[in-house]
Amino acid sequence: MITFIFFLRRIAFSSVTLFVASIVIFAIIQILPGDPAQLILGMNAQADTLAALREQMGLNAPFYSRYFEWVLGIMVGDFGTSYTYSVPVSELILERLWISLPLAVMALSLSTLIAIPAGVIAASRHNKWPDVSIMGFTQLGIAIPNFWFAMLLVLVFAIKLQWMPAGGFAGWDAGIGAGILSLTLPAIALALPQASILARIMRSALLDVLAEDYMRTARAKGLTERMTLWRHGVRNAFIPVLTILGLQFSFLIAGTIIIENIFYLPGLGRLIFQAIAQRDLIVLQGLVLLLVAAVIFINLLVDAAYAMVDPRIKRAYHE
């Protein structure tokens, strides 16, 4: 019950954040220099032609009325019509979401699959060679910029070994296998730094937990070291890891923007750059708002997951 109330409040707060974000985003994007109409019509366009197009795109209306039209539209699921493509923005975003979302999910699962065992091994062999070498690798993993790592992956796996496509997206209609194959290298490039950070967090969280009194209680009951580690250690260590996973999402989005550019994946990241270059403002503002909403939503999810993993949460919200 209390948790429910808490979530109602969180949702209310998130909505306010999102509303303020929509104003900020709209305002920021309005000051982007460059006239979308001129970009469409090019260098030889005449003044009257430009005016006609601007009128057609609704660019001549005042600031506030365009804002309200936009926001009210979004509330009923209408993100407006792309200036350049002349198709609904939502359609455009949805098309690309089918690349960015699987990519993000793949990267996130990959990094979790690598990081959790690595962190557990490192913590349970604290200061021994597995720990030292895993920590060494993660240091390196954090330091390697993902775009450079992506370049190296392309060099080795696409160019030299020819195992995977160097870039581009085969399309889901070409088969799930082909689609996943074209997302593999990008997902690996995205996952590496994420996995490194996550492994370190997992390790330090687990080390904190291992030092807790209740671990000693568990050992005193007679449980073996391994049982104690998994039954009491890993589960409790997940709590801080969860927070970081939420924060990571924001980095994941940033990473996707760069990585999609390198692998030439027609995802949301590319759409952003395209929209900026073509001053397709309506697409841009819809996209940015969507990404901000995604971050807010993920954090909400993390909070919910938190409450499920940690029974103390209910009380914490009391205080």
């Binding site: 220099p33 005449q46 350049t84 198709v87 455009l92 098309e95 160097a166 581009g168 030439y264």
Partner: protein
Amino acid sequence: MKLSKFALRGATALAMLAMAVPALAANNSVTLGMVLEPTHLDPTAGAAAAIDEVVYANLYEGLTRIDSKGAVQPALAKSWTVSDDGLTYTFMLEEGVKFHDGTDFNADDVVFSLDRARGEDSVNAQKALFSAIDKVEAVDASTVKITLSQANGSMLFNLGWGDAVMVAPESADGNKANPVGTGPFKFVKWVKGDRIELAKSDTYWGDADVLEKATFKIISDPAAAFAAMMAGDVDGFPNFPAPENLDQFRADPRFSVVVGSTEGETVLAINNAKAPFDNLKVRQAVSYAINRQSIIDGAMFGNGTPIGSHFAPHHPAYVDLTGAYAYDPEKAKALLAEAGFPDGFDAEIKLPPPSYARRGGEIIAADLKKVGINLKIIPVEWGPWVKDVFTETNFDLTIVSHTEPQDISIYAREKYYFNYKSDAFKGVMDELNKTTDTDGRYKLLGEAQQILSDDAVNGFLFQLAKTGVWNAKLNGLWENSPVQANDLTGVSWSE
């Protein structure tokens, strides 16, 4: 030593590639890479070259068309007559032509298309092409009469532009997303940001034996373009974006590398109205200070032809003026001193995104530094470039390629971004418009080139090369690009 290393690498890579790429069975389709994605597919409502690159001659046709050599050919108009005063054009249309949606094409469609393009609320990017037209009339179902208010020597050429293609009143409004034309290919689907698919139209009036399927794959990243070619994801890149990689394709027997010419005069545009560039001596100094060959080598890896004026070297009326300002930094310094800048000065150069501009800009900055002009490099996106440079002419220098065909007339415009004003030049242009005989026109064009060179209006750098790469078995792609088009009507596979 270094070369042999290259060769070795190339050879091993090749061996692996040869094994990896599966043999394509009886090929009836083609996938071409293109760098920029069209914003939409209506060539009569946007300037983007990418639109024409997909639709020109494939999806839409005009009354006339421009062929691979730049000559005007009949298209939907099978023939025409021009009155002696050059004011009345009568076009005889092909018969039995259908739009892709099944509606018939006739003279009314011509009237509609041309009136729409030049009308008051037209959003045609090249509205000026039609400014000479006084009225368009349907004489009968297959005859159209166009009356001009003044003679225009390039009228037939103008009607061959992508911006002058024929559209139907029923479908014109939807052409951006769902193009309907009369061409040999019809639109299938467009995966935004990824590819556009066309298929052979079964209602085509002509007898073109075209491929079943054509796909334009959008790959803007040069590195990705290289990878896509190597991996066989695309069959060709009519305009390959990274000239630095051409040597590798040349070394690979799977590919043909064809370097042709384009209509793109690449210039270091100078703001003629802004001090100190309003001083002829300063502009001349800039022209002397630029080492064109090093720009072509450094920025384009040797692809491109130096020019001395705003005119394409492949055109018969071309006059070679590259010697007028041969690279001579000492002379440049002397001219600067004469102009009152013995120690040089500071200026800005705004560079739009293409690599010819960004790379060329760096080289020019280094060149000009040697004669004392310190350039601050300001990279800009196309959006701000259009606003700052083109619309508000708030710039000192910029680099841009003027890709419209035979566009020397822009120097006669009242208000154009480099703010050049010359009555002599305008006079020549007026004369040109009135002249219809070829020799006379060529002579006038030569004069015009000379004036621009004398006035050192801009730093004339090079003619942008069309660096095409495609599968060696693919035939029929254009070598040059007199208009921005990927005409697929003649494309076929060997074997």
